[in-house]
């Protein structure tokens, strides 16, 4: 056994450093820009740094370094920079940043959005950007007005001198000749007027009027449309294909083999879509070609029975603690979660124009830096000449951090020598995706008679998440590494995670929520070859189901109240202890109809603590969730209404998975194809959601993902109370 855990954060950090050149996280005001200017200045605006532009007529534009996929990040980061700049975020124009290292995620060291980290990692740097820019404008105004800077104030985009107000724009010409102050003192949170207040989303108007541009809406003069026919079994290659009828179908311009399958290019999308059905392709058989869902489950079980998994983390002496426990009271239970698809509403797409001088990509991607790198690798163009026009993302959930569609569009565009728009169908999305891996988890726990857990062992088997994600991202993160070395590196990473290290993302959440005097977490890697990647809340999406189901099972065994048992095991987790106590009080005060039952769960992820109470009824075997109450501590809530919306949405996303979600395999091929057999929760099935945000002035932590993990176990725990059936498999189905 080895004891080495690489987390998703480490992986992204490491890949950024290995790449070289990607070193400066945030260009603080005053720093020189590296490479071509990331902001295309279209008029005589003042651009004090990569994030802000102020025009003489006092329009302020904020270039948002994180990708807006629904989580409200454009509003959140505009609020943060606006607070210190003293400009109301509602009056700013907020645009997606271009592709440039000045916009690198400070933690990932590459431009990208994920891990619920954007508000957390940009909170201080963007406040500093706002504060320094405001100080610069004060200095400029002082010169122009002949008034000492310390006698000037600011108010919502204006310099205030006594009873006179001057728009910031009046001073941008002078400001552009001055040196940018650095490390200007930041406001005390008690003086915040935008941070912490509810405000409308900056993208609400565009999204309510159909004027928000998504990747699919790109319309480039002369562009043609492409679809790709991919193998039914992931990774299989076309041995041969017959395109004789497809090639002569109406509008068809070309049939092009690409690395992932065969592309059909036509004058219109619908023509490409119809012609693709006329292709006959002979696909190779692969080891995955015989795999079924039943086999996956058996193999994952067998891997844990084989008992040769790799230890990830431990504390205390769990072996001794189990030996000391009354053997009759030790619980040991298996929990299972299936493969899942992300199914964002906007199917994957990308529009690429390659010219002699450069390339322009219009898409919605969570990993701008790697998308740029993939194009650098495939086109041979200098990185600075490749522009990523990142659009609104029609849902991400991790799916848009993968790059296969960027590779496809590049291969097609290079082949047809025209701008190309590639569009995946919903069937493509569900059948040819990257999936949340299936997970078998075995939890063994011992507690004393008062409910203090004395020993804890948590083991997981299944495909590891990071190695495959790394393999997919590598060509973009290391654009200049030759293909042979690239494959070697990806293979090495895969080997490492299968043999001597544990992928931290695959086991995250198996012990961290509670104060455990002794524990062991371990992992058995079982990879059937179905591509996997991050799925909203990653490993937590299944580990919370196992841990929080076990907590209720322990409570029952000890004849304790489930909330009381949890509180006994949170001694050195004061923030979560407070969240659980608050939620416990709310639960104790709830009155529900006779046939409704309450279930509780809590989970820490991405620095945020969430407890949920699900109100559930079961009628003729049908589980109905009526209401979910959430208590959350995410530090300072930058925009409480968006925090609330993220929890509402997380409940719906997680409930879809808890009640319906399963990607199944038959002959290695994904069975599900569209929303009839991969159902998504609809309005008439959706619960009411109440959200309580714990007031806090500590720096903000994640909010996009942490609402997902506790939901499934909260519902399962309620179903147990309603029926006496302990459901240990997802999705939840009554016998």
């Amino acid at each position: 056994m080895s004891n080495q855990t690489l987390s998703r954060r480490h992986f992204l950090k490491a890949s950024g450093m290995v790449g070289g050149g990607i070193v400066v996280a945030v260009a603080l005001p005053g720093c020189a820009f590296k490479g071509p200017h990331p902001i295309e200045v279209t008029d005589a605006g003042f651009v004090p740094n990569a994030f802000l532009q102020i025009t003489p007529d006092n329009h302020v534009t904020f270039y948002c370094p994180s990708d807006e996929m629904g989580q409200g990040i454009r509003t959140g980061l505009a609020t943060i920079v606006g607070e210190e700049l003293d400009v109301n975020p509602a009056t700013m124009l907020v645009k997606a940043a271009g592709s440039h290292e000045d916009y690198n995620n400070p933690e990932f060291r590459v431009q990208g959005t994920g891990g619920s980290n954007a508000v957390r990692v940009f909170y201080e740097p963007l406040r500093q950007v706002g504060a320094d820019t405001r100080a610069l404008l004060l200095n400029a105004a002082s010169l122009d007005l002949g008034i000492p800077a310390d006698q000037l104030l600011t108010a919502d985009g204006f310099i205030v001198a006594g009873d006179r107000r001057y728009p910031y724009g009046d001073f941008v010409e002078t400001a552009s000749s001055l040196e940018m102050p650095i490390a200007t003192e930041l406001k005390a949170p008690s003086r915040f007027k935008y941070i912490g207040a509810d405000a409308p989303r900056v993208d609400a108007l565009a999204k309510a009027t159909g004027t928000a541009n998504f990747g699919i809406d790109a319309d480039v003069p002369g562009m043609v449309y492409a679809v790709v026919v991919r193998p039914p079994v992931a990774g299989s290659k076309a041995l041969s294909f017959d395109d004789s009828t497809a090639r002569v179908a109406p509008g068809v311009l070309a049939v092009v083999p690409v690395s992932s399958g065969v592309a059909v290019v036509a004058e219109r999308y619908w023509q490409a879509n119809q012609a693709a059905k006329k292709l006959t392709i002979d696909w190779e058989e692969t080891p995955l070609s015989t795999v079924t869902s039943e086999q996956v489950r058996q193999d994952l079980s067998a891997a844990l029975e084989a008992d040769n998994d790799t230890e990830s983390t431990r504390a205390g002496d769990p072996e001794k603690a189990f030996a000391d426990a009354d053997a009759g009271t030790i619980l040991e239970t298996d929990y299972y979660a299936p493969f899942l698809a992300h199914a964002p509403m906007e199917p994957l797409n990308a529009t690429l124009r390659i010219t002699e001088d450069g390339a322009d990509l219009w898409t919605g991607v969570q990993f701008v830096g790697a998308a740029q790198g993939v194009l650098e690798r495939l086109t041979g163009l200098p990185r600075g000449n490749i522009k990523i026009h990142n659009q609104f993302l029609g849902g991400g959930f991790g799916r848009r951090a993968t790059l296969s569609h960027i590779v496809e569009v590049a291969e097609i565009a290079l082949s047809v020598d025209k701008p190309v728009q590639l569009l995946w169908s919903r069937e493509d999305d569900l059948r040819h995706g990257f999936y949340r891996p299936a997970a078998m988890m075995k939890i063994k726990a011992a507690a004393d008679s008062e409910g203090h857990i004395t020993a804890w062992q948590a083991r997981r088997s299944g495909a590891n998440i990071s190695a495959q994600t790394f393999k997919n991202a590598l060509p973009g993160v290391l654009p200049n590494l030759p293909t042979g070395l690239l494959n070697g590196l990806a293979g090495a990473m895969d080997y490492v995670f299968k043999n001597w290290a544990v992928d931290g993302s695959s086991v995250e959440g198996l012990h961290e929520t509670y104060s455990l005097p002794s524990y062991q977490v371990s992992h058995a890697s079982v990879d059937h070859g179905l591509p996997t990647t991050f799925w909203r809340s990653v490993g937590h999406s299944y580990t919370s189901f196992a841990v929080e189901s076990m907590m209720d099972e322990l409570a029952e065994a000890k004849q304790l109240d489930p909330v009381a048992l949890r509180l006994k095991n949170l001694n050195d987790k004061p923030r979560m202890q407070n969240v659980v106590a608050e939620a416990g009080q709310l639960m104790a005060a709830m009155t529900v109809p006779e046939n409704h039952h309450l279930g509780f769960a809590a989970h820490s992820s991405f620095g945020t603590d969430v407890a949920q109470i699900a109100e559930v009824s079961v009628t003729e075997g049908q589980i109905r969730v009526h209401k979910v109450t959430c208590v959350v501590d995410c530090g300072l809530a930058v925009n409480p209404d968006i925090v609330t919306a993220q929890l509402e949405g997380a409940v719906m996303f997680a409930l879809t998975a808890a009640l319906y979600g399963s990607i199944d395999l038959e002959g290695g091929a994904v069975v599900q194809s569209n929303f009839h057999n991969y159902p998504i929760l609809r309005m008439n099935e959706s619960p009411a959601v109440d959200v309580v945000i714990i007031e806090s002035e500590t720096p903000p932590t994640g909010i996009g993902e942490p609402g997902v993990p506790p939901l499934a176990p909260a519902v399962a725990n309620a179903v147990y109370r309603a029926t006496g059936q302990r459901l240990r498999d997802l999705p939840l189905q009554l016998a």
Binding site: E68, M69, G70, Q71, G72, P200, R201, D203, A204, L205, A206, K207, A208, T209, G210, T211, A212, N213, F214, I216, D217, D219, P250, R268, Y269, W270, Q271, N273, A343, P344, M345, E346, P347, F392, L393, G394, G395, G396, F397, L423, S425, R426, E427, D641, I642, A645, E648, G649, A650, M652, F653, N674, F675, H676, I680, L681, R682, M683, N684, S686
Partner: protein, 163 residues
């Protein structure tokens, strides 16, 4: 050739009459507010009005729109002249990713036109053909109900005034 009215303007389409209306609107008439989500009439992202009825246009051949009136999100309202539902959408901070919202609003607009003071059950029934993967349902419903409630109070005021 197929002729129909698009947001009040007469238009002609010369291509394949079996092409779904969605693609004609998006790729030929370049109105991009209506979205592609499933291609099977299962998610409602492509919802438009055909002679005032909400319809899923990813499975509707353009031929079926011949001589009819097609209304898209662009014809319902615009940033300078919002439909009451669009105002309610902004007031309730409804959208997250926003991709499904054109379809949601078009489905809601057909409901409100038909039943200005729609009940909670009416809303559930009318809106359950529209998927929101971000899970904005509580806010979508609240936004529609706020418009329905104002219609209800308008009706009540009108009734009172007429009595």
């Amino acid at each position: 050739m197929i002729t129909f009215s698009l947001n009040g303007e007469p238009v002609r389409f010369n291509g394949d009459p079996s092409t779904p209306l969605l693609w004609v609107i998006r790729d030929d008439f370049k109105l991009k507010g209506s979205k592609f989500g499933c291609g099977a009439g299962l998610c409602g992202a492509c919802t438009m009005h055909l002679d005032g009825t909400a319809i899923k246009t990813c499975v509707l051949p353009v031929a079926a729109a011949a001589d009819k009136a097609v209304t898209t999100i662009e014809g319902l309202g615009n940033p300078e002249d919002l439909h009451p539902l669009q105002t309610a959408w902004i007031e309730h901070n409804v959208p997250q990713c926003g991709y499904c919202q054109s379809g949601q609003i078009m489905a809601a607009a057909a409901l409100i036109a038909d039943k200005p003071s729609a009940s909670s059950e009416d809303v559930d029934n009318a809106m359950s053909g529209n998927i929101c993967r971000c899970g904005c349902y509580p806010r979508i419903k609240a936004a529609i109900m706020s418009v329905a409630a104002s219609a209800l109070s308008y009706d009540a005021a009108a009734t009172e005034a007429n009595s």
